[in-house]
């Protein structure tokens, strides 16, 4: 077996896959839709990165582009997808993509009904994937498929192997799809809303399964979802997407307890789980912008009641809040007026600050520290912010 990409194991924490300034466009009935607008992401070895966004934010398109699975009318217009020193965005043929897709980077989709072939037994489909990507013979791949069925929690793998997808329940089907994905031995698993179509109790089991597999197999997981509850359960790091861009990214605790982008604030504040009964829920006005048109300034500005004048004129750069946390909003510019997040967000912050004090864990570094000093918004990130602005400023001038 030959691969154009070498397979040396990676140290944990090392960058495995990165999207750099990706622009993805679709041509739709003669018009051009820019679904992803200069988005960057990095996935490190052994981590789970959750990409959160509403429908139309470009999260699924971004994930698909990493595997060369864009619909035919879409293409990567600029930017790079770096994996093991190779720019995948330069791949032209299916042949090239097959060196990565499946064997190295596998994907689990939302709907387990359509991910499986209804005319083939479930076991056969897993066996085929294993045979193709690992170059195993029939007996060996069959043994592996059986092992994988057991590994994903399907009881009586021998009997289930010979059954057809219609004989599986939704949750069991998703387990089978996951079995097929991990049978190929990928180091990265991309999950695109894998539990959205499932019941909550089944969802909880599938999420636990994915977590367990990641730990045991040392995979990195890129998890696409719109559900912030699922994000809280799964993510080590989070990237929030809006209108085709990543607007904030950071460690899970940083994003939940010390969010900085007004869109992240709004997203958290509009969750009924965090609302106060009897009060109006915080609602984001309007709808996301049309991606058919060129967007000027900050894409969220028209829906943001706190938007500054500059938001309508110039696109904000990223400002660093900590080495792991950054947000793309002018509010973090040292010249910006101090803005208060909505009450819900403050309550989350207060809750965590209170809990940290109660437990006496001041050492619970960046998030807790930052949460205790909310006044640090204007002063804290100054030096880094300036650097970031300078860097990004240059980039946008290009």
């Amino acid at each position: 077996m030959t691969h154009s990409i070498d397979g040396a194991p990676r140290a944990p924490g090392e960058v495995l896959l990165s999207a750099e300034d990706l622009v993805i466009g679709f041509s739709l009935r003669g018009r051009k839709l820019t679904a992803v607008r200069r988005a960057s992401l990095t996935l490190r070895a052994g981590e789970t990165l959750a990409v959160v966004g509403e429908s139309g934010s470009g999260k699924s398109v971004l994930a698909k582009s990493l595997l060369g699975m864009l619909d035919r009318n879409g293409r990567i217009e600029s930017g790079r997808v770096m994996y093991r020193g190779v720019d995948l965005a330069g791949f032209k043929t299916e042949r090239e993509w097959l060196t990565v897709r499946g064997g190295r980077v596998a994907m689990v989709f939302q709907d387990p009904m359509t991910a499986l072939n209804p005319l083939k037994t479930v076991g056969e489909q897993i066996r085929e994937a294993a045979a193709l990507h690992r170059g195993l013979d029939k007996a060996a791949s069959r043994a592996l498929a059986l092992e994988m069925l057991g590994r994903v929690g399907i009881s009586e793998p021998g009997r289930r192997y010979a059954q057809f997808p219609h004989e599986f329940s939704g949750g069991m089907r998703q387990r089978a799809v996951i079995a097929a994905a991990i049978a190929c031995g990928p180091e990265i698993l991309i999950c695109d809303e894998p539990t959205t179509a499932l019941d909550v109790t089944i969802q909880a089991q599938i999420l636990d399964l994915i977590k367990g597999l990641q730990r045991d197999l040392g995979m990195s997981v890129l998890f696409i979802t719109h559900d912030l509850g699922v994000v809280a359960k799964m993510a080590d790091r989070i990237a929030v997407m809006y209108a085709g861009q990543v607007v904030e990214e950071g460690l899970s605790r940083e994003l939940f307890y010390d969010p900085r982008h007004p869109y992240t604030w709004a997203l958290l504040a509009s969750l009924p789980q965090l609302g106060v009964k009897g009060e109006e829920l915080f609602a984001i006005k309007g709808t996301p912008p049309s991606l058919f048109k060129e967007i000027r300034g900050d894409a969220f500005a028209p829906r943001n009641p706190m938007a500054l004048k500059v938001d309508f004129e110039r696109e904000p750069p990223f400002f660093d809040i900590s080495p792991t946390h950054r947000a793309k909003t002018w509010l973090l510019d040292p010249r910006a007026p101090a803005m208060e997040p909505p009450d819900t967000v403050k309550r989350l912050k207060a809750r965590i600050a209170g809990a940290a004090r109660a437990a006496g864990v001041a050492a619970e570094a960046p998030a807790a520290g930052a949460a205790e000093a909310p006044a640090a918004v204007p002063e804290g990130p100054k030096p880094k912010a300036r650097r970031a602005r300078a860097k990004n400023g240059k980039e946008s001038e290009r």
């Binding site: 909550v200 909880a204 809280a232 009924p272």
Partner: protein, 309 residues
């Protein structure tokens, strides 16, 4: 909330198929819906929650039991006059706003279709006024009436679905997962709208959902349904603070909470129906554990659950 229920369901059973293939989707469900109240029916797919809603709408016939609207029996045959009234006073909102609006009709027609069917207007002027009022009430502009559904976003379409129901001046709204298909930011708008309408119009909602966490925010009371039977019914906060039935506990533990620290410490409870000891003479019954808090349990269980954790 008044003491008189506007809708009461008692021992409702719904069967599909017949003979050996018969399947009972709803197996003896009883509850009451009061005026100005939001009662949520929460369960997983296949639990029969949608079927209950449809049985009240008289889409599925009840195999047994009774459904009473303002004290009058409405399960089974009713007179033409009564039928007319029910069609008007009990309205439904659906899950998928992309599928529940006629793509080929203008909003004007969609909102007034019921008005036409029941001749609820004297002249064209009154009809237009009613459409305008319904649209304004859900936060849409009257000039949207001349547009087609495809020109609207999901949240707006859901509002049109609500406007269509409101135009009939209903007393009860059966909302079948009306916010599940909506994005987070849009969801909040629709929840606020439903809450406001309840307050202003004194509407009663039967809210059918699978997500307990969202339901907590909007419900006065919550009923948990499992395989066609109610297993627990309590005021919303009580259900979250003191869940009794193991299935309710399992559901609560399964819902992911948007708080990473809480999620990390949470333990998943899996419901095992075999954990009940329902031998002869110890069958479960619908019992009131504390005022307003009902649970499906036998005597031994009720004792354990009320004294224990």
């Amino acid at each position: 909330m008044s003491a008189e229920p506007i809708l009461s369901v008692e021992g409702l059973r719904v069967r599909f198929g017949s003979g050996r293939k018969a399947f009972e989707a709803v197996r003896g469900v009883s509850f009451e819906l009061y005026r100005g109240e939001t009662l949520s029916l929460v369960g997983e797919s296949g639990s029969g929650k949608t079927t209950i809603g449809r049985a009240i709408m008289r889409v599925h016939p009840a195999a047994a039991g009774s459904v009473r609207y303002r004290g009058r029996e409405i399960a089974g045959k009713v007179g033409a006059e009564e039928e007319r009234l029910l069609r008007q006073k009990i309205q439904m909102i659906f899950q998928d706003p992309m599928a529940s609006l006629n793509e080929r009709a203008k909003i004007d027609y969609i909102v007034s279709e019921g008005l036409y069917n029941f001749k609820l207007f004297k002249d064209e002027k009154e009809r237009l006024a009613k459409v305008e009022k319904a649209l304004l009430e859900v936060g849409l502009l009257p000039e949207f009436a001349s547009r087609f559904p495809h020109e609207f976003s999901g949240g707006q379409r859901q509002r049109i679905g609500i406007a269509r129901a409101l135009a009939m001046e209903p007393e009860i709204l059966i909302a079948d997962e009306p916010i599940s298909a909506l994005d987070v930011s849009i969801r909040a708008q629709v929840i606020n709208l439903l809450n406001r309408l309840k307050r202003d119009r004194g509407l009663s909602y039967l809210f059918i959902a699978h997500d307990l966490s969202v339901v907590r925010f909007i419900s006065d009371r919550i009923a948990v349904i499992h395989l066609g039977r109610l297993v627990e019914l309590a005021p919303a906060e009580k259900l979250f603070e003191r869940p009794m039935h193991p299935y309710t506990k399992a559901l609560l533990s399964a819902v992911p909470v948007p708080d990473p620290d809480e999620e990390r410490d949470k333990r998943l409870v899996v419901y095992d129906p075999a954990s009940h000891r329902y031998e002869a003479g110890a069958e479960p019954a619908w019992r009131e554990a504390s005022p307003g808090h009902f649970v499906l349990a036998n005597e031994a269980e009720l004792r354990d659950w009320t004294t224990g954790s």
